[in-house]
């Protein structure tokens, strides 16, 4: 932790080393039933934990070689990745795999020991619905703007965005826009902060951020901050740490982060820490998990909380990673 943050009052301190230990402990919990019930999220979990460690300035806290080995062990012939060995390939785990490999600079290993970048790109590109432009999560056809964003994220990291029909996809995102400036999971669906992130980020990757109604969206997003400082994901809903990412990253992309109260949000996120055992929960006093831990940290990073590495608001990766790969 940086010297600067140590001068903060106790309740405003990030228990960084506890968070590192918490994340490191995640793969040692094989004597807990929950560990086995969440195997379908193993690769995603690795991505969440590893990103959090990078932001905390401890990229080495998980061993690199074993990480690469595990990621590659989840890959299928068709290029896609499953959540763990023996799990079917899916867009979500494939994107996580690409993000992990990007973060630890291991695309070469994918090339040498895995099925190669091109095959991954092909897997993702084949999930595009060429008629509507959107993407399915796997061969069974569930479609959602989450998958579209995931595809853009991974393909652009791989430098293979030209494999898909970007314009069609952009058209689809635009069709998901609502009068309130937000975006839904599909055309006709209600605006939702998570979906707004995926849509605005997808448009940003496509270089079409001009299609966002930034003023109206900014208003909607800024109203997500409620008494207590936390952010909710939709009107009249409860606050939740994960929206510190979905809402804040979207505000950042449209240049309106200053439309909410930074200090109150920081205080809310920090109140959700488990100060003894590390980890961050959805709301103060609840069970922590790695997912909320990451999004608490990315939120703090966007708010320039001292001692955290800057996060890329579009890719949800350390800025150092996207700068290295995309030259941003």
């Amino acid at each position: 932790m940086s010297e600067k943050s140590k001068t903060l009052p106790k309740e405003l301190q990030l228990v960084a080393s506890a968070h590192v230990k918490y994340i490191q402990s995640l793969d040692t919990r094989k004597d807990e039933y929950e560990y086995w019930l969440t195997e379908h999220l193993r690769l995603n979990g690795l991505y969440w934990g590893l990103t959090a460690l990078h932001l905390l300035g401890h990229p080495e806290a998980l061993p690199r070689t074993e990480t690469i080995d595990f990621v590659l062990s989840c890959q299928h012939e068709n290029g896609g990745f499953g959540a763990a060995p023996g799990h079917d390939a899916h867009m979500l785990s494939t994107v996580s795999a690409v993000q992990i490999l990007a973060m630890i600079d291991a695309f070469d290993d994918l090339e040498a020991r895995g099925k190669g970048k091109a095959q991954v790109g092909k897997y993702i590109a084949n999930l595009q619905n060429r008629q509507t432009g959107t993407f399915a999560g796997d061969e069974w056809g569930e479609e959602d703007t989450r998958f579209l964003y995931g595809a853009f994220n991974a393909l652009s990291l791989l430098g293979l965005l030209d494999l898909v029909d970007v314009d069609k996809a952009v058209d689809h995102v635009v069709a998901c826009a609502n009068f309130d400036g937000g975006y839904g999971v599909s055309p006709g669906a209600e605006s939702h902060a998570g979906q707004i992130f995926t849509c605005v980020a997808a448009l940003t990757i496509a270089g079409r951020k001009n299609l966002v109604d930034a003023d109206r969206l900014g208003k909607w997003l800024s109203e997500r901050q409620i008494a207590g400082g936390g952010l909710n994901g939709r009107p009249e809903k409860k606050e939740d740490v994960c929206y510190s990412w979905w809402v804040l990253s979207s505000l950042e992309m449209i240049g309106k982060t200053h439309w909410i109260d930074r200090d109150q949000l920081i205080a809310f996120i920090l109140r959700c820490q488990d100060p003894e055992n590390g980890g961050i929960s959805d709301r103060p006093g609840d069970m922590v998990d790695v997912w909320h831990t990451l999004f608490g940290l990315t939120g703090l990073s966007l708010l320039e909380y001292p001692g955290l590495e800057p996060v890329d608001e579009v890719y949800c990766l350390p800025k150092s990673t996207t700068e290295r790969i995309l030259g941003k």
Partner: protein, 434 residues
């Protein structure tokens, strides 16, 4: 990267100290779970397509409905044996399941052609899948097709009946899981896949009956959680299918509009219902063949409804968003579906002016509700834009006053108010004067 299950929401933090006894119980539970998992995996690896394996997946999914790979195993078991092979749809398919408000106008051929995606897709993605060698002696065929079904028509009918039974029982299987985990994407997605099979494999009347029941499920889920956006999305999809020619349907826009009214009357804060309403209105008016005066009357009614709602709930964002939807229709007809295309500029100005007046009146009783000031600010700016003029001195004074109020009532968003102050030229003016 995106939102999904597995995260702990709203579960109180407890110190997880287990007694030795509890640890043993948990280890035992893990061993049983993993054994079951092994059985399923090895069954799949062997190419087992028996009802035994199918039942094991039921058991496993009841323990862990998030296990998407097992849902896929189940799909493959169905398409490779348990369901009849006669249907054209038995190829591994990826059909668009996206609910689209335009679905009713999509010709059936377009809906079919979306399965062209499957052609570009390498057949079954998983290394453990791709067994296609099952034939009529697969378990589901047992005793179902008798000699009496010898004619092709009879065989097809018998096949349909069998598929109907299988799919119905599958749909029933997911219900308790859904009630238990209403936000689990995988269950919803599996259910939608089943329903797609219903369309592809059953006669229109049979399929329609099944889909009709889905509407009941969607309502039930929304009674339990009025804002569950999975359930709202699901409802939109079910309605779009029921309306589609493939199910011999016709428009349900009136009934759905009525449904949003009921949901709103039950809970004014149900933004999901207001949202759905906003999406239905343009279609509703088109299908009613509404003329200009009907449209005006409709707008008046909606404004009346939301005004009454704001009268009792001015601190409710949901209501203001809907009000904004109606106002945008007046001030920004381009880029938004407009309800009243025949409105002249004068009409629009009159309406917006009246709304501003009404909102000002709310301040008499609710002078500490910040959303009222936000609306006044926004609509006053709209009015200026609409008339293509600069705001006059009195208006600017009002804006300044409202912004001061907002800064006091809503300091969280001071960054926004300060920026707005600058944009409206309120800060510069002061600077010039001093």
């Amino acid at each position: 990267m995106a939102d999904q299950g597995g995260s702990a929401h709203g579960i109180a933090r407890t110190s997880r100290v287990r007694t030795e006894e509890q640890r043993k119980v948990e280890l035992d539970k893990i061993a049983k779970y993993r054994e079951l998992e092994d059985q399923v995996r090895s069954g799949v690896a062997r190419g087992d397509t028996s009802p035994g394996l199918f039942q094991l997946t039921s058991k496993l999914l009841r323990l862990n409905p998030e296990y998407y790979t097992v849902w896929n195993v189940r799909r493959r078991l169905l398409t490779s044996g348990l369901l009849s092979k006669s249907s054209a749809a038995s190829s591994p398919l990826t059909v668009s399941l996206t609910a689209s408000p335009t679905a009713t106008t999509t010709p059936p051929s377009a809906a079919l052609s979306s399965s062209s995606l499957s052609a570009t897709q390498p057949s079954p993605a998983s290394p453990t899948a791709g067994r296609s060698g099952t034939t009529a002696d697969s378990p589901a065929g047992e005793g179902k097709v008798s000699a009496a079904d010898a004619t092709p028509e009879a065989a097809a009918a018998a096949g349909q009946k069998k598929d109907f039974d299988v799919l119905k029982s599958e749909l029933e299987f997911t219900i308790p899981l859904l009630l238990d985990s209403p936000k689990c994407y995988w269950i919803w997605s599996y259910r939608l896949w089943l329903l797609q099979q219903v369309i592809d494999r059953l006669s229109v009347s049979m399929a329609r009956r099944v889909w009709q029941e889905e509407l009941g499920l969607a309502s039930k889920m929304l009674t339990r959680d009025r804002r569950n956006f999975h359930a709202w999305g699901y409802r939109r999809h079910v309605v779009a299918q029921l309306e589609s020619p493939r199910l011999g349907g016709e428009s349900m826009v009136e009934a759905e509009f009525e449904y949003t009214t009921r949901m709103i009357r039950m809970d004014l804060s149900n933004f999901s219902a207001w949202h759905s309403r906003s999406k239905l209105i343009p279609r509703l008016l088109d299908e009613r063949g509404a003329d200009d005066s009907t449209r005006k009357g409709f707008l008046d009614e909606e404004l009346g409804l939301i005004r009454e709602a704001l009268n009792v709930g001015p601190e409710d964002q949901s209501l203001w968003y809907y009000h904004q939807f109606l106002i945008l229709n007046l001030v920004n007809p381009v880029g938004h579906p407009t309800l009243t295309p025949a409105f002249s500029l004068e009409d629009r100005v009159t309406y917006v002016t009246r709304e501003i007046q009404d909102i000002k009146e709310l301040l008499e009783d609710y002078d500490d509700v910040k959303l009222i000031y936000e609306a006044l600010l926004e609509y006053t700016l709209y009015l200026g834009q609409l008339q293509g003029r600069k705001l006059d001195g009195a208006e600017k004074d009002e804006l300044a006053e409202w912004l001061q109020k907002l800064k006091k009532l809503d300091p969280m968003r001071n960054g926004r108010w300060t920026e707005l102050e600058r944009e409206c030229g309120l800060v510069e003016m002061e600077a010039f004067e001093t």
